[in-house]
């Protein structure tokens, strides 16, 4: 049943397919949608990687990876290049994905229009009519209030020129990676009972205006550990005095660069 929902989701890119979400051995909000999608697609030949905010070594990532290793006997990895299925919570790896890889997103609220229109019956109609004016008004109100579009995560995208989709709460920094990606992208929302998909080589356009084009975040300094520029950085608090360090959010990317001899300044700010 979940597999049938995945097939329809691929056939109608960006459309949210309802499915009968199952009980999972974890609470809602911990990735029950992603776990169900991963469990529905994985097979003996797959190698699974799980990331949580870019990191392979946080509680959610470790427990989901161990859950699949124990229940399915599948091979797991922390390396993006070795994985065939990557389950993710709110990041897309910095290493470009390739054909044959599948990215499975854990999604809390799949409906991009939910905070504009709380009724599911109405948002269904808005999607059916491709009536997305309210979303543009929301972005415009950002501009009138802040001078720029202040939405920084879960930034709405238009998929294949038709459906407006919530890319899950990934930073908008990752939105450009979704466009024409060689990897298949599947989205599972367990509590909200929705599955949606972006096939490989599909246009994913972040909504914007001609005079306020979409822009991603910029960081002033490189990663303090590996010196990488043009990657998404996490702010790490170091002590009670408020000293901070900016390091790669993608731990595999950072470790790979350090293994290759790249060194950051190690400086706190």
């Amino acid at each position: 049943m979940i597999r049938r929902a995945i097939l329809k989701a691929i056939a109608v890119p960006g459309y949210q397919v309802p499915f009968a979400s199952r009980e999972m051995p974890m609470p809602y909000g911990w990735g029950t949608g992603g776990v169900q999608v991963t469990a529905a697609i994985l097979g003996r030949a797959d190698v699974l990687k799980v990331i949580d905010q870019g990191a392979d070594d946080t509680t959610n990532a470790v427990s989901i990876r161990r859950f699949f290793a124990r229940t399915s006997g599948i091979a797991t990895t922390t390396r993006t290049t070795e994985a065939t299925i990557i389950q993710t919570r709110h990041r897309i790896p910095e290493t470009p994905l390739r054909e044959g890889q599948t990215l499975v997103y854990q999604v809390p609220i799949p409906e991009p229009l939910r905070f504009l229109e709380p009724r599911e019956t109405e948002t269904r109609q808005l999607h059916a009519l491709a009536e997305y004016g309210a979303m543009h008004v929301k972005l415009y109100e950002d501009i009138s209030r802040h001078g720029h579009i202040a939405t920084t995560y879960a930034y709405p995208v238009e998929v294949a020129g038709r459906y407006v989709m919530d890319p899950s709460p990934t930073p908008k920094f990752d939105n450009p990676k979704m466009d024409q990606s060689p990897a298949l992208q599947l989205f599972g929302a367990g509590r909200e009972r929705r599955i949606y998909a972006v096939p490989p080589y599909t246009s994913v356009r972040s909504l914007d205006f001609e005079d306020h084009p979409f822009r991603v975040q910029q960081f002033d300094q490189p990663c303090a550990l590996c010196g990488a520029e043009g990657v998404y950085l996490d702010e790490m608090l170091l002590d009670d005095a408020g000293r901070r360090m900016f390091v790669c959010s993608d731990t595999d990317h950072c470790e790979g660069r350090r293994a290759d001899g790249h060194v950051g300044t190690g400086d706190a700010v």
Binding site: L7, V12, A128, L184, P200
Partner: protein
């Protein structure tokens, strides 16, 4: 004696699903499919594999005349899948077509509704051969660069029907093509033209 289903039900169904998923995600690319089934004729091993992997009691199944005329096929599908058979194509979640030349017009199958376009029929066609060839040119999501496939046999008026199906997007049927050892996908998002 009833023919057996997948020797390994878990991995047989998973492998078949994965081939179909890849086929729909990359329309026109041929995916290998060897389920090792020996279903009663005229059901082909590929049609049987998709039926066993994807249908159950929740999915009304429509069979074309050649398949529906065979009590062995009905008994095989009923035992292994539990799926109810329907003779109304507009009610079918899946349609299995052994003889594509006599396939009813695509518009007669369930098209989905504007609010729920996923409630449309998925058609599974058994062809003699699918090849990377000259006849049909594909474009749309999941397709990188020029992609062409050749279908044998190509049902009469099929390309015009697919164009009509594409014009109704996001409504429309999704087509899964099978041939011995192979599966390919033509989801409703794919624009098919004759070259």
């Amino acid at each position: 004696m009833l023919a057996p289903g997948f020797a390994d039900p878990v991995h047989g169904a998973q492998g078949t699903f994965r081939a179909v998923m890849d086929a729909l995600a990359r329309p026109g690319l041929l995916q290998p499919l060897d389920a090792g089934l020996k279903p009663p004729a005229p059901l082909t091993p590929e049609l049987a594999a998709l039926a066993l992997a994807l249908t159950d009691a929740d999915t009304p199944v429509w069979l074309d005349a050649g398949l529906a005329d065979s009590p062995e096929v009905a008994a095989y599908l009923r035992f292994h899948t539990g799926a109810p058979l329907t003779d109304d194509p507009a009610r079918a979640a899946f349609a299995f077509i052994r003889d594509p030349a006599r396939c009813p017009p695509l518009a007669r199958f369930a098209q989905g509704t504007p609010a729920y376009p996923d409630s449309s029929t998925t058609l599974v066609l058994a062809l003699d051969m699918i090849a990377n060839g000259e006849r049909l040119h594909l474009a749309g999501p999941g397709i990188k660069g020029p992609t062409r496939i050749a279908l044998t046999p190509l049902p009469e008026g099929f390309v015009a029907q697919l164009a009509e199906n594409r014009a109704g997007f996001p409504l429309g049927v999704d087509v899964i093509l099978t041939a011995p050892g192979r599966v390919a996908g033509l989801p409703r998002s794919t624009a098919v033209t004759e070259s």
